[in-house]
């Protein structure tokens, strides 16, 4: 059964390679094969979710090379949750893209599938250097996707995005190198064992390396001083790409959740809770900054791009406090916010396609076609993102608020989160009322028609927020168990003792 672990990587890899050679095949065939790949990937992710829900760790060692030296994939509840989250998001973005957004670039599907593969490697890997490789795989695909669709407005934000991420990669390597030179290992489970034993001048070396990793993950997650590249890049990208990118900042957050509690957790001696004191205030400032940006946005996509930053702040604040309840609440909110933000990107694009020259700018324009459908979708998205009661954003924020213990942190978190949510709502109501209500006379003459793929995928992704509400019980049970598993990391360390090698061929076994 352990061979299932590699399925979410192999499926998009094979699908992507197939797409490379199909650049000149009919577009219908390419789309069918690409979406089949994504559906298979979702199926494999669900299988892994079922496997992981028994609280055990499963490992897959490439070529049977034993950890800590071989590269291993590790499946636990967190990895499985992220895989399913990404697979569902990827599927709907892909269906949306096949409604016409993938035209004009023969390798769109290749890049899209490779991006999904990079994300899956990042979630499954149990090795710091392999995490770097996964980051590079998903980044190089994302560079291509960001540029997709042409247009001169995309080159400058794209250039900034690429340069920043290359600098980030350099810092990542330096951090990894420092940790390796002091501990002699890069396997995360092995690091969790070796880091508490680090002594003397090596402590500072590991500390510097760890902080550098935090900076790099912070850059991916777009924490405040490192977040200004995001709104421009995301707002300029094609809608399905921007929607898929909604999970990219979550990769940074995932890396923080994975690496820091494990190797710099409570048991790390002198290095316990490294960097977490910094993270909490930064998260709150990021949240405030996101709200200010959202209030100042002058088109819908920029508004949603700032929403990405708001959700990063909201997620990192409870994580930085290091409590189990906080982590569980953050994971619940992570699922909710990823889908909501992605759906809002898709809705913005649909709105833009119906408004002619006004596009998605927040200005009065002639009445658009399909106004009821689009406004309902926007309303659902905005309510979920702002955190109003019936939808999942509310439950996520409620869990986060409940998870803080009384004290200074509670005062800060409650006030920033509440006031922030209030102003987010103002930003959405302002945008929504101008775009949907303040109409000029007449209709836009020839709006792009909405086809089924585009409207159905956007509709379903938007309604995922209601699905989360319906499944709130099982989901929060799952996230609670995940947080428990992450906090009790002796299980993760034990994977080093697990015998990986199972003799496949009894004859070879006898000879030995």
């Amino acid at each position: 059964m352990t061979h299932w672990l590699i399925a979410p990587i192999l499926i998009p890899l094979l699908g992507g390679i197939l797409q490379v050679f199909m650049g000149y095949a009919p577009i219908g065939l390419r789309r069918t094969l690409a979406i089949t790949t994504t559906v298979l990937m979702l199926a494999s992710a669900v299988v892994l979710l079922v496997l992981a829900s028994d609280d055990s760790y499963r490992i897959y060692a490439f070529g049977n090379w034993q950890p800590p030296f071989g590269i291993v994939l590790v499946l636990d509840r967190l990895a499985a949750l992220m895989l399913v989250l990404t697979a569902i998001l990827g599927l709907f973005c892909h269906i949306y893209a096949s409604g016409g957004a993938d035209e004009g670039n023969r390798q769109f599907h290749t890049l899209f599938l490779f991006q999904l593969m990079g994300l899956n490697i990042a979630f499954l890997t149990g090795d710091l250097f392999n995490l770097f490789v996964a980051f590079e795989v998903l980044l190089i695909a994302s560079y291509g996707l960001l540029m997709h669709g042409g247009g001169t407005t995309r080159t400058v934000p794209g250039l900034h995005y690429v340069v920043l991420n290359l600098v980030g990669s350099a810092l990542f390597l330096i951090g990894v190198g420092m940790i390796y030179s002091a501990t002699g290992t890069l396997n995360m489970a092995d690091l969790a064992v070796k880091i508490p034993q680090v002594s003397g001048s090596n402590v500072n070396l590991v500390k510097a390396g760890g902080m550098m990793l935090l900076v790099v993950f912070g850059l991916k997650a777009a924490i405040l001083p490192l977040c200004f590249w995001l709104p421009k890049a995301y707002a300029k990208a094609t809608a399905p790409v921007a929607a898929l990118f909604a999970v990219m900042t979550k990769v940074g957050i995932y890396a923080i959740i994975r690496v820091f509690p494990l190797i710099f957790g409570e048991g790390a001696g002198e290095l316990a809770n490294l960097g977490m004191d910094w993270l909490f205030p930064l998260a709150l400032i990021t949240l405030s900054m996101g709200v200010i940006g959202a209030l100042g946005a002058n088109n819908l996509k920029t508004l949603v791009a700032w929403q990405v930053i708001i959700s990063v702040g909201t997620l990192l604040a409870p994580i930085a406090l290091g409590s189990e309840a906080g982590l569980s609440a953050a994971l619940f909110y992570l699922v909710s916010t990823t889908w909501t933000v992605a759906a809002l990107f898709l809705v913005s694009e649909l709105v833009a396609s119906q408004r002619g020259l006004a596009a998605d700018n927040i200005v009065p324009a002639p009445r658009m076609h399909h106004r009821t459908f689009l406004s309902v979708l926007f309303l659902i998205g905005a309510v979920a993102a702002g955190g109003l009661p019936p939808l999942s954003g509310f439950f996520g924020k409620l869990l986060i608020l409940q998870s803080v213990e009384p004290g200074v942190e509670m005062a800060w978190l409650w006030s920033v989160l509440m006031v922030g949510s209030f102003f987010t709502l103002i930003a959405y109501s302002r945008a929504g009322s101008i775009v949907f209500w303040r109409n000029l006379d007449g209709h836009v003459e020839s709006p792009a028609p909405l086809n089924n793929r585009v409207s159905i995928s956007t509709g379903i992704l938007t309604c995922m927020t209601m699905v989360i509400v319906v499944l709130a019980g099982p989901l929060s049970d799952y996230t609670r168990a995940t947080a428990e598993q992450l906090h009790n990391n002796s299980g993760y360390i034990n994977i080093l003792q697990t015998p990986v090698h199972v003799p496949q061929n009894p004859i070879v076994g006898e000879k030995n």
Partner: protein
């Protein structure tokens, strides 16, 4: 040897960062290249410096740590791919904006080209 190695890494990184901060695409590309050389050498040194030892276990009594060499090899390959992409993107930037500034325009661009950019951005 350690001092020389450290100086080289320092010089490469410092020049890299300096060039990176120049707001022109060509120096930025060069800066990133130098920075990645610096990083690769640094990574190489994390397995401790040794001369005349093979990174193959079992061929000699003492051996050089093979893991950083594997890491460097991966990092070099990835670095090449990224630099190639960046060069193409920088050329595209030059073609689109008729300007090699990383922001696509200089502060004192002639008004005409600025208007042109606004039109295209709309």
């Amino acid at each position: 040897m350690e001092l020389l190695f450290a100086l080289v890494i320092g010089a490469l990184t410092a020049s890299g960062v300096y060039l990176l901060l120049r707001a022109r695409t060509f120096p930025v590309v060069m800066g990133l290249t130098l920075l990645s050389y610096g990083v690769n050498l640094f990574l190489f040194a994390t397995g401790r410096l040794a001369t005349g030892q093979q990174p193959v276990i079992g061929t000699a009594a003492s051996y050089s740590d093979p893991l950083p060499q594997a890491l460097v090899l991966t990092a070099i390959v990835i670095g090449f791919a990224m630099t190639a992409f960046l060069v193409v993107l920088a050329l595209r930037n030059l073609a689109d904006n008729e300007n090699d500034h990383v922001d696509g325009q200089q502060e004192n661009t002639p008004a005409a080209s600025k208007q042109e950019q606004e039109v295209t951005s709309k």
